[in-house]
């Protein structure tokens, strides 16, 4: 469960501010953050990911007050509990699909790259339809395929929460729908929290909860 209380964030010297009196997201919830550019969608996602410290307020994930801990502890927490998917995929061009999926294990020794991890790579690659392309480099994949690899990378550590920052923005409608189905189905079947930022108002129907940042902040 995610609980935000009295959340307030502002950039120094900026008129922008983000406020949440109370935000609670239960296990298995699928939440979409919508709103125009500059409404604070990505900022909220970064706060929930432990990347941007709020000016005031608390963020609790599974009872742990995220910003009570040091940056290093938050990083360790993030790699174990949270999965991140970005708009631009952010795959490493010099690693194959399999290696890209396994990259969290190379970056942080807190998680062990055991046999289970390799098994999960296979399972996830099969789940997203890339089982036959695990040894290819990202440059040999389509946009949709790259985003599927990014999704696998976010899920390989079995996080409790999946945070997606406009993952379908660079995809055509067909790929967008495929990715969306893959993400929502996976989270639903595995009882994960899904929080997705999007501009796309068409996809909000597929989510349990919609947070319209424009209205919330107003």
């Amino acid at each position: 469960m995610i609980q935000c209380k009295d959340l307030y964030f502002t950039y120094p010297g900026s008129a922008f501010s983000l406020r949440f009196q109370n935000l609670t997201i239960e296990k298995g919830d699928q939440v979409v953050l919508v709103g125009p550019s500059g409404s604070g969608k990505t900022t909220l996602l970064n706060i929930l990911a432990g990347l941007t410290k709020p000016t005031r307020g608390t963020v609790q994930i599974d009872g742990i007050n995220l910003y009570q801990y040091s940056e290093a502890d938050r990083r360790d927490f993030r790699i174990v509990k949270l999965g991140l998917v970005f708009q631009e995929f952010e795959l490493l061009e010099y690693l194959t699909v399999k290696e890209n999926i396994l990259i969290p294990y190379h970056l942080n020794p807190i998680i062990d790259r055991d046999a289970q991890a390799f098994k999960r790579v296979e399972e996830l690659a099969t789940y997203v339809g890339l089982a036959d392309k695990v040894n290819r480099y990202p440059s040999h994949l389509s946009q949709g395929e790259r985003q599927r690899v990014a999704l696998c990378r976010a899920l390989v550590t079995q996080p409790q929460v999946l945070l997606c920052d406009e993952p379908t923005a660079n995809l055509d409608p067909q790929n967008r729908d495929q990715i969306l189905t893959l993400v929502t189905d996976y989270c639903r079947n595995n009882d994960k929290i899904l929080i997705m930022v999007t501009h796309d108002r068409e996809i909000r129907q597929q989510f349990d909860h919609v947070i319209d940042m424009e209205k919330t902040q107003a």
Binding site: I79, E90, H106, L107, N108
Partner: protein, 392 residues
């Protein structure tokens, strides 16, 4: 460490072209000063070694370096020559051995060294096959000269004639190869040793021809009386010394005036050496005596000075290379900013990112050092041998 090392390796491997260029430029930066140092040190060693084994040298006044390089390494002979009678002057001292050297001629690229048999003993030259030269027209080949010319004992070599426009030039002489020397790794390997008199035959100071005194054909004679016989141009001069015509070879003029390029002087002791050097110092004619070791050591000093300058240039070049390398890494880091931020977002610490970038540099430096060592090893095994050949 394992994870960043793996990622660093993958990054460098994926960008193998760029990595290779970096590795090569760094390895060359390391290798050049190393190679320069080794080459100069080995060169100095080679130059000094032979000079140290040659106690004193007599030759015509002029460039000491030219005389030394000529007499020791059989390079181009000095411009001026000394008369054979200089040997008698030296031998006025007791307890002295002399080795005359006359080397203006060549067989192909190999210098013909007119000397005496004792020269071979003096240099510790051993025969691989055959025997030493004994008769006029016989020669002994150094190992490189023999293998390069494809010559073995019993074959013949022909001296290379002087230029076509040199009317006083030498004529080709066919010589019998009676011995091949063992390889020594010295300039002697590339020499064709013969008796000094044979060398003078090539110089045209001695020759052999048909007997004109007892000639039966009138066409061979322009004039003949009781005291002399004047040969016509129809008389054939021999270009080969054989058992049949060897007796007909004769010298014109006083042999004591015949030319030498240098004389190696071997004093029996230090006192003799000091006295003989003193004598030559007080001489005011066109002859000089020098200590090859001193001359070559001056040359080596110059070599080391040049090396130091080149080393300084290499160090500056190295600094420039490392500055460029730092710039390349810095630019690369900026270009990879998004990638590095993503790594941090998905769980990599700043320390891991620093490790990753540091390991990339370290791998390049280690690979460069290995390649530089391989280059240096190749230089030691192949390059220094080439240098020996070049110097010798």
């Amino acid at each position: 460490m394992k994870g960043p090392l793996y990622l660093a390796w993958k990054y460098l491997r994926y960008h193998r072209g760029r990595t290779l260029v970096l590795i090569l430029s760094v390895s060359l930066t390391i290798f050049i000063p190393l190679a320069l140092n080794q080459l100069v040190r080995k060169g100095a060693e080679l130059l000094t070694e032979r000079a140290e084994r040659t106690p004193l040298l007599v030759g015509a006044k002029g460039s000491e370096t030219e005389l030394c390089l000529g007499a020791l390494y059989f390079r181009d002979p000095p411009q001026n020559q000394i008369p054979y009678t200089e040997i008698d002057t030296v031998l006025q001292m007791q307890n002295v051995e002399v080795l005359p050297l006359h080397f203006p001629f060549q067989v192909g690229d190999y210098r013909i060294v007119g000397t005496v048999n004792n020269y071979l003993d003096f240099r510790g030259l051993q025969l691989a096959s055959g025997r030493s030269f004994a008769l006029l027209g016989e020669c002994v080949l150094g190992s490189t000269a023999a293998s390069s010319l494809g010559i073995s004992v019993g074959d013949q070599v022909i001296s290379t004639p002087s230029g076509a426009f040199d009317i006083a030039g030498s004529f080709p002489l066919k010589m019998d190869v009676v011995g091949i020397l063992k390889e020594q790794g010295t300039p002697d390997d590339e020499a064709v040793f013969t008796d000094i008199k044979t060398s003078w035959v090539i110089a045209g100071l001695a020759h052999g021809h048909e007997d004109v005194v007892n000639a039966t054909s009138d066409s061979l004679l322009l004039e003949k009386n009781d005291t002399m016989a004047i040969a016509s141009s129809a008389v054939l001069s021999y270009t080969e010394i054989t058992d049949e015509n060897r007796h007909s070879f004769h010298f014109h003029g006083d042999m004591h005036t015949f030319p030498l390029n240098a004389i190696i002087v071997i004093p029996g002791d230090r006192q003799t050496s000091a006295i003989i050097r003193g004598r030559y110092q007080s001489r005011e004619d066109d002859v000089q005596m020098l200590v090859p070791q001193q001359v070559i050591s001056g040359l080596v000093d110059t070599l080391f000075s040049i090396r130091n300058l080149l080393l300084l240039a290499s160090i500056l070049l190295g600094l420039a290379t490392f500055t460029i390398l730092a710039l390349v890494f810095n630019l690369s880091r900026k270009l990879r900013a998004r990638e590095l931020i993503t790594m941090q977002k998905i769980g990599g610490s700043k320390a891991v990112i620093r490790q990753l970038l540091g390991l990339e540099m370290l791998i390049i430096l280690i690979c460069s050092a290995i390649i530089a060592m391989v280059f240096t090893f190749v230089l030691q095994t192949v390059g220094l041998r080439a240098l020996e050949t070049f110097i010798t």
